[in-house]
Symmetry: C2
Subunit: 253 residues, 2 copies
């Protein structure tokens, strides 16, 4: 077996590269990384990815990290079931959407998710243990994010994140008035990105945004996403989230 995928629960980043693997029907060795136990910062994992982040794809002993990079890699190597158009203008459209989600959506949904979930985890650990966990986190930005999650993000930061999520939902709604999928009439990694990072859970996570009423095309698109065999198969991967922590995806509020 040449493909190995190191991942956590089928949500957010771990889901984002799981869906292409499943949509393409690729066989892979699944390696579960337990975020509850901070395995992503453990010595064995940091050897694979010095940044200490899931997911990681290993193909023929080559390590690929960063979900958007992994998804382009899968298109380059396994184009038989394409999730990126062949024409360069189409590719540019997909990349512009992926860039938008990576830079203007992901972190904002993530902040709310962290505020709810990682905050619970972080506060359940006592001070000294928490400090030594922080020290193991390779990326300075991630270290700051964990420390902030423990104390709680500020209301102003959370409100700003909500504004960005509203902007993104409106942008998606407008686009879906013009094309069937985000980057045109073909289902692509742009849809997968927005779905995994926001679209899948935005209605559940933010009932106050009245997503179903305000963004009906987004809801229709989400339901079309949910119905895809590859998406279904990815969502059926084991979910070990402790029940009290099902906050990130909005199952518990």
């Amino acid at each position: 077996m040449t493909l190995k995928y190191y991942h956590a629960e089928p949500a957010a980043n771990s889901l984002k590269s799981m869906i292409p693997l499943k949509e393409k029907g690729l066989e892979f060795e699944s390696h579960y990384v337990d975020l509850h136990k901070f395995e992503q910062h453990s010595e064995w994992f940091v050897k694979l990815n010095p940044e200490g982040q899931v997911p990681v794809l290993i193909h023929n002993d080559q390590i690929i990290t960063q979900t958007s990079v992994i998804n382009e890699y899968l298109e380059d190597v396994f184009p038989e079931v394409p999730l990126r158009p062949y024409d360069p203008v189409g590719k540019a459209r997909v990349r512009a959407w992926n860039k938008f989600v990576d830079e203007h959506v992901m972190n904002h949904v993530s902040m709310h998710g962290w505020h709810r979930m990682v905050g619970v985890i972080a506060r359940s650990i006592d001070g000294g243990e928490f400090e030594s966990l922080l020290e193991r986190i390779p990326l300075p930005d991630q270290r700051k994010k964990w420390a902030t999650a423990r104390s709680g993000f500020s209301e102003a930061d959370l409100a700003n994140a909500t504004d960005k999520i509203i902007y993104a939902c409106a942008k998606v709604e407008t686009q879906l008035g013009e094309s069937l999928w985000l980057a045109g009439d073909m289902f692509t990694t742009a849809d997968i990105n927005f779905y995994a990072m926001c679209g899948m859970m935005v209605e559940r996570m933010f009932p106050e945004l009245e997503v179903a009423e305000k963004y009906p095309r987004l809801i229709d698109w989400r339901d079309r996403m949910n119905a895809r065999p590859g998406v279904k198969a990815a969502l059926e991967m084991p979910d070990h989230t402790a029940p009290g922590l099902r906050t990130f995806t909005g199952h518990v509020r």
Copy 2:
């Protein structure tokens, strides 16, 4: 002529896609957009790019925006002089670096540049006129950035941006101990990105960082970049920056 490039001065974003055009020896129609006159927010320009940002590439009437997307597009369409490896693992390496520069470098150098340059412009305009200029800015984030540039960024935000620039310089220095260029032994768009956004001007802009002393490989790499014919040709494009505003690139402090 099938290629048109709408751009400002040869620095930062406008330079980032100018270098590949020149390195590849492509003929293009140059259209100067005068940022001093806020032309990027004018009606005619916003018709090309609804986000009101330079640069814009037009190829056979197709509009491509976002420098990293433009640069991938140029690789897809004009691979004769390649700035991206042919093998997928090499491509992944280039994309990971480009993602790093886009998400963790560009905005931080830009904040210092804006603080120095746009602040001067913004404060030179009277209140009422400034408000109506703000209203023309399509992207909410850009509108906020202009408003903040007028009042000045906070010391804490500027210090945080400096930390990120230090992190980036150290990361580049380490990489250049392992390979000739950022993404391996081939000169790629990753080098062009870091050069245009930071490497070209970091020593001039931040003398307090002692770049030459602390990051000698970065300086050697920058000099190799400066010597490339495509880079030289791009830097020779007209620079209409008002002399008192040559702050962004560190020529005036």
